[in-house]
Symmetry: D2
Subunit: 286 residues, 4 copies
């Protein structure tokens, strides 16, 4: 077997591994104020958004990442009305949040306004019109600054949809102890947070750093992960709350809430929710 010659993208997997995946076109390579942005059309994954050499989401499998990030906490919360998203420039996290009939306001804060414009131009299948939903509010600002200045006690759910903690520089502090303390202040009583948490296999120390910082701020931290083909590794997540525990919902309870709120998904369902919280986290060499 072999790799066909031609255009490809070399994507970071770990510091010692990379995925080479063939591309049809590279539509965009721009360096914004914050990061290098590329839009590529791949053979295996369709159109993909690449930031600083890491695939963020692709046409074919973005639903795995976005459904798995958003719905476990949204469903665990009995009535999420106000939701804050930090990051998520493609608009797909916003799209998933707005599927919940209970949502009255979804605020999305991304530092990179240029990225959002590229997403609007090249990545329809990500946002699917979410940016123009009347319940959506997009703020171009540094998430670190936003969480310090936003009115406390306002949100039911906070979703941290950030680039990897070992990836582009701009995301590092958004996995820190102080940041999580600021995030906690924004929650209403009974609120819950979720953060994507990078990869526990290739970066076990960074992953533990994230989990420990959450645990320093919240009573209940629940780890889960799923496999995202275009990342060529699993993606870890953590929920954090003082009161809510997603691992105690049954498949039936999940399916009932999904139905009641009119949430239409490709992958997420009661059984999937249950399975996510039964799988142990997998770690590689330190």
């Amino acid at each position: 077997m072999h790799l066909k010659y031609g255009p490809a993208i070399i994507e970071g997997v770990s510091k010692d591994s990379a995925l080479i995946t063939r591309v049809k076109k590279v539509l965009l390579t721009e360096v914004t104020k914050y990061q290098e942005v590329q839009i590529v059309d791949t053979y295996d994954f369709g159109r993909a958004l690449v930031l600083d050499g890491y695939i963020q989401s692709t046409e074919i499998d973005e639903y795995i990442y976005h459904e798995t990030l958003v719905h476990p906490v949204m469903i665990t919360h009995p009535n999420p009305e106000k939701v804050l998203i930090i990051g998520g420039g493609e608009g797909a996290t916003l799209r998933e949040v707005l599927k919940h009939g209970s949502v009255k306001e979804a605020v999305m804060v991304d530092i990179d306004g240029e990225l959002i414009e590229f997403a609007k131009k090249y990545l329809d299948f990500m946002h699917k019109g979410a940016f123009s939903d009347p319940r959506a509010k997009v703020v171009i600002e540094d998430g670190l600054k936003f969480v310090k200045e936003e009115e406390p006690g306002k949100y039911d759910v906070v979703i941290l949809d950030l680039t990897d903690p070992y990836g582009p520089e701009i995301s590092r502090k958004l996995y820190g102890k102080e940041f999580y303390s600021d995030v906690k202040k924004l929650l209403k009583p009974g609120g819950i947070v979720v953060t994507q948490s990078g990869n526990s296999f290739f970066y076990p120390e960074v992953y533990e750093y994230v989990v420990n910082n959450l645990r320093a701020n919240f009573k209940i931290v629940k780890e889960y992960w799923t496999w995202v083909p275009s990342f060529s590794y699993n993606c870890n997540f953590n929920t954090a709350s003082d009161t809510l525990d997603p691992s105690i919902l049954t498949a039936d309870e999940v399916d009932t809430r999904v139905r009641e709120r009119g949430v239409d998904t490709k992958l997420y369902e009661g059984n999937y929710h249950e399975a996510l919280f039964k799988l142990r986290v997998i770690k590689g060499k330190k």
Copy 2:
């Protein structure tokens, strides 16, 4: 971020994607009568066995593949005494099978005697002495031929630990309808089979071919998968039986059997077993 110069291995992921992972040494590259065999020391995964350019198993994560292949069917069977393994030249599947106190005889059939000798020399951590267990019997023969000629109705469990259906040539027929019919004849009443099934995301058509061939021969076929880091994708499996259904065991029942048989694992447990059969299969583009 970047990929450091130096030795690496280009490993097949799909026909349009490959993983490049850095290696310290390439200890062996031999072409046996059946396949190209390489033993490499990698940075991310420790020592690895590579057949025809595909990583088969590595020091760091082989337990994920081998425990997930072996234990679901072994535990689902109430008393597996006679077990047949087709493939599995590294000896790690044999090792896992022999952990079950119930096992009286484990026959392993691999076509490639040279490969087994290489495994004995370079891959201690795979077989861990399993080849010299008095219950183990190693047969160097073509699996296709063996299943036609072996005494019928002899085995409780058959484990098909083969190279991918889209990988090296020698494995193709071992996923075919006729082969499964031959395998079925070897089972005792109440027996069960498991086969690794390649990858459903990158090769959905090949995967469906495997599942359909199993369904043509067995009443109960159960799909499951796990993520194997060094494959850089998930690995699919299927159980097949006329009577046994692994998806109805509870976590407690699994944990009890594991304890009673004295099976010592790193990953496999009741919760993991339950989760495996709750996750939907993920498919990419056809």
Copy 3:
């Protein structure tokens, strides 16, 4: 040192080596009736034309290839008026031929009309208007067929600017004994032919096949080569004639003819011409 993540092109060097070079954009990937065509913007070489995974010519170094292909035979011929080019879809060979004031008609025959349209659209710096020179005539036809049907004894110089003999399928026969015999018939007395000849280091047998086929048809065959950075190897050429020998021209004679014909070059000059025919051909392992 390291390779930065992001888009790149994997380019064939030999059957066991490839060059990975980073790209900014992939502007075009189309499969024409004859070959896969890609136009990419690279960091090291500027804009590049890629056919079936092999870089054909790039903005930064195409002058090396095209000047070295065209001028040695054009200058060796005392008065080239009628010139035939087979291949050369980018138009750069045509551009170099037309620099010779002596030329009255330059016929360029390329099988792939779509490729020529892509060149016109994306590769200005290659043709630089040569397609609209009144002395130029472009024929979209199979070179094999053209040389069989064209009026004999018509051309002073024939330039074979083909994809590699070990590269895209469509070029194989254009290095064969029969083809060279047909080409010879098209020459006026005192005419001369040149062909790019692939790479003698990585493909010594194919290279020798080409030289032998020329020798079977012409009395004087002269080998030469230059280094083309974007090929990541040297590129071999051969002149063939019954009367003309480029290796006997002195640097002064070359420089005089260049001046008289008003040929403006970046690299080609008398010293370069002399050096080309003093270097031995370099061959690797067979």
Copy 4:
């Protein structure tokens, strides 16, 4: 066309390009006090020495580099008796120097004693016994220090066989103005120096820095280059002397000296010498 899966080496070409070449074995990867050393068996080039990810020399083509480095200055000097080599740990430069019957003493100074031991163990074809020639003297020392402390006016020829100026850290200062001044002091009247000079195409600024530093110290600096397949680029060299100019030797004079001194070569000869000094240096983008 395609790249076969399996072990390979990713070798630096420029900061935006790398060569991937398939390997059979990686025999050694060690980090010495000074650099990362790898010995690999490649398909295209046979056994290769790799320092910090850059191929230094290979079984199949090392003669191109070593003959082109050594013989132009050795032949230009009318009677080289005492020769100093800085670098050249593989022993092949020493081997070429000792081919000249005129040589009475050849001192080789390399900082990395471990590297020399690896060369003795794995790279016979490089040194071919040169280390045990009674005229050879190996000194394990920093070249920078050696040239400051060595007795002045002792050498006829100095050969700088160093890793690239843009490659491993340890070589940077060995291309500096001060170093060349120290080297000059070691020459007898009528002496000559040669240095490998990296690559003028991919690193034009570094190359010009080297040439300028030579020109600041010597009256006659002559540039030349050859193509080295395993470097996947050409390799530049410069001679420097206050009296000797290699570009004025005719092919006949060269061939006579080669014969008189009993120098047996694969590539170097009068015509090659002449051609080397007729080719212009090729530079890419800055």
